[in-house]
């Protein structure tokens, strides 16, 4: 709480610098932040209560919608707890598929974050580049699961869709493109002076503060704390795959950037191994509708850090209690600390650096045709062609330029 004599400005709950509703009351002396008071809860939708009133099967789809980005994280975390109570041992192939989707989700989330971070520091070229590249992984997710987010892959006892050899080849092709791009981003993050100068020493959180404030995910790892549920409390197929837990000693926003871009490389490594060693066999086993009485706690390393779900079952087909603790709630405590004695202008990037979660929605597009009341579903290539045509009519035509660029590339 602030001293009543401090000069305070409110930021949020609705503010252009924030991507989600959250309220900050910032006490200032000149441009310097004396203290921050955070008010959360504007997005509380009562999902835990709603989960108690629905069946386990309905809850998978409800809980998948806790987050618009880490949807697979939440559904897997919940499902692992229920499977533990029910004593279900899922087939190896399902464990691997859950891992692959989980890592594809991490890639899309980290690339999304990179764009947001670029935007927050006025480096919008980085936003354009990383979000363009993010489309590569979004297309893969859509091809495997049928959706860009909220994949609906999980079910009790396994997964609902298989990955066939052709899809497997497509994923590998996409990974090659992404890896090439990520190498470029690592180069930018570690060599580009603008990035290094703008992000170094901003939002400092020491190793001791991480441990004291219980920060998780890349926020913790960028302060040298090797905390990763995939290793500490291994689940799905992670115990059978080799990868490094990326840490950095910078303890600031710069460190968080480096950790995230380097983690992308680890995700590619994990997916390649999982596809190579994808076990044969069924993708799911039959699960009962009713879950015997019991309780379980499940942990999952979501892109933003440790996700925790606690489930208590009472023997019926509805859970007695579902408790969810998403990573941002653990990290938001650290934000207060990071902002103290910093400049107000650093606030957007410091907040963005814990990667607070905001919704990225479905991209099904319905276009209304003239003289036609009903909508029309348009395929992605057709939409692309339509877009080029539309821009040409406005006088924006890159055909010649693209030809030139392609010719230069061949040289």
């Amino acid at each position: 709480m602030h001293n009543s004599k401090d000069f305070k400005i409110p930021i949020g709950p609705q503010h252009p610098a924030l991507k989600e509703p959250e309220g900050f009351s910032v006490a200032l002396k000149g441009e310097k932040i004396l203290g921050v008071d955070i008010r959360l809860g504007y997005n509380h939708r009562g999902i835990e209560k709603a989960a108690e009133e629905r069946t386990y099967i309905q809850d998978i789809y409800l809980i998948e919608r806790v987050c618009g980005i880490c949807s697979h994280s939440h559904s897997t975390c919940f499902i692992q707890a229920v499977e533990e109570i029910a004593g279900l041992v899922i087939p190896a192939r399902a464990r691997y598929i859950r891992t692959i989707i989980g890592e594809l989700e991490r890639i899309h989330s980290h690339l999304l974050w990179l764009g947001v971070a670029g935007h927050e520091i006025g480096f919008d070229t980085l936003l354009m580049y990383s979000w363009r590249d993010r489309e590569v992984v979004m297309d893969i997710l859509a091809a495997i699961t049928g959706n860009r987010v909220n994949y609906g892959m999980n079910t009790f006892g396994g997964v609902r869709r298989d990955i066939n050899p052709e899809q497997s080849r497509e994923i590998l092709k996409a990974l090659d493109i992404l890896e090439e791009r990520t190498k470029y981003y690592i180069e930018i993050a570690t060599e580009e002076t603008t990035i290094i100068k703008r992000l170094s020493g901003v939002g400092v959180l020491s190793r001791e503060d991480v441990l004291r404030l219980d920060a998780v995910g890349p926020t913790a790892r960028a302060s040298g704390v090797k905390r990763d549920v995939r290793v500490d409390d291994s689940y799905a197929a992670y115990g059978e795959l080799t990868f490094d837990v990326i840490t950095d000693e910078a303890c600031d926003v710069y460190g968080r950037t480096v950790v995230r871009v380097k983690e992308l490389m680890e995700s590619y490594k994990i997916i390649r191994q999982a596809l190579k060693n994808l076990p044969d066999g069924p993708i799911a086993i039959k699960a009962p509708r009713k879950v015997p009485a019991g309780e379980a706690l499940s942990r999952y390393e979501a892109p933003r850090g440790e996700d925790v779900h606690y489930v208590q079952a009472n023997g019926t087909e509805k859970p007695q209690r579902v408790k969810i603790r998403a990573p941002t709630l653990a990290n938001v405590q650290a934000v207060k600390h990071m902002l103290r004695d910093r400049f107000l202008a650093d606030m957007p990037i410091v907040i963005a650096a814990i990667d607070p979660c905001f919704s990225c929605t479905d991209r099904m597009i319905a276009l209304k045709e003239q003289d036609c009341a009903k909508g029309k579903i348009i395929s992605w290539p057709a939409l692309h062609a339509y877009s080029l045509e539309w821009h040409k009519k406005q006088g924006i035509d890159f055909t010649e330029l693209n030809k030139k660029l392609a010719a230069r590339g061949q040289k």
Binding site: M1, D37, I38, R39, L40, G41, H44, G46, E48, K49, E84, L211, R212, L213, D214, A215, R227, D232, D233, E295, A296, L297, R299, E306, V308, Y310, Q312, R321, K323, R325, L329, A330, V332, Q333, A334
Partner: protein
């Protein structure tokens, strides 16, 4: 000896009243049940001596006459201890653990808002997650609470 067994043995040696209430559920998962009077010493022992230095969250439970609280503690070894205590619903007073984990503040506020727990020693601050005009005495995660038209009307009245 596994880390789970070390924790179990340490606890039983120090607190003989825990006999029969420390369980190793599976590798990396333990559950302990302790009365409210003995909660703080056991909690402190797990945090300080057993180095369970990460509090994942606190789960609230409505158990008819009682309110249950599970403190999910873990450390570098990956062993997760679910330390459970409970208190009569009529006087749901627990002590804050913010002196051990400053980050627990938000979890305790959640228990206050959603379950009607009273956390002594918690510093003044914003409530979480309900709105400032939420009607007094309405605790949504209690089992008997329903989003009734009366409750919604009550919310309007207070607005």
């Amino acid at each position: 000896m596994s880390q789970e067994e070390i924790i179990k043995e340490g606890l039983l040696k120090k607190f003989n009243y825990l006999e029969g209430s420390v369980n190793i559920v599976r590798p990396r998962r333990m559950s302990i049940e302790v009365g409210l009077d003995n909660f703080m010493p056991v909690f402190a022992y797990l945090v300080k001596d057993m180095r369970l230095s990460h509090l994942c969250t606190i789960t609230g439970l409505d158990e008819q006459e009682k309110l249950g609280f599970i403190y999910h503690l873990t450390g570098e070894s990956g062993v997760m201890v679910n330390l459970k205590t409970s208190v009569a619903k009529a006087s749901p007073l627990i002590k804050t653990v913010t002196s051990y984990f400053p980050g627990a503040e938000i979890y305790e506020r959640e228990l206050e808002d959603l379950f009607g727990a009273k956390v002594s020693g918690l510093a003044q601050g914003n409530r979480y997650p309900l709105t400032d005009d939420w009607p007094v005495g309405q605790f949504p995660l209690r089992k008997d609470w329903k989003a009734s038209p009366e409750a919604e009307k009550g919310a309007d009245k207070n607005a």
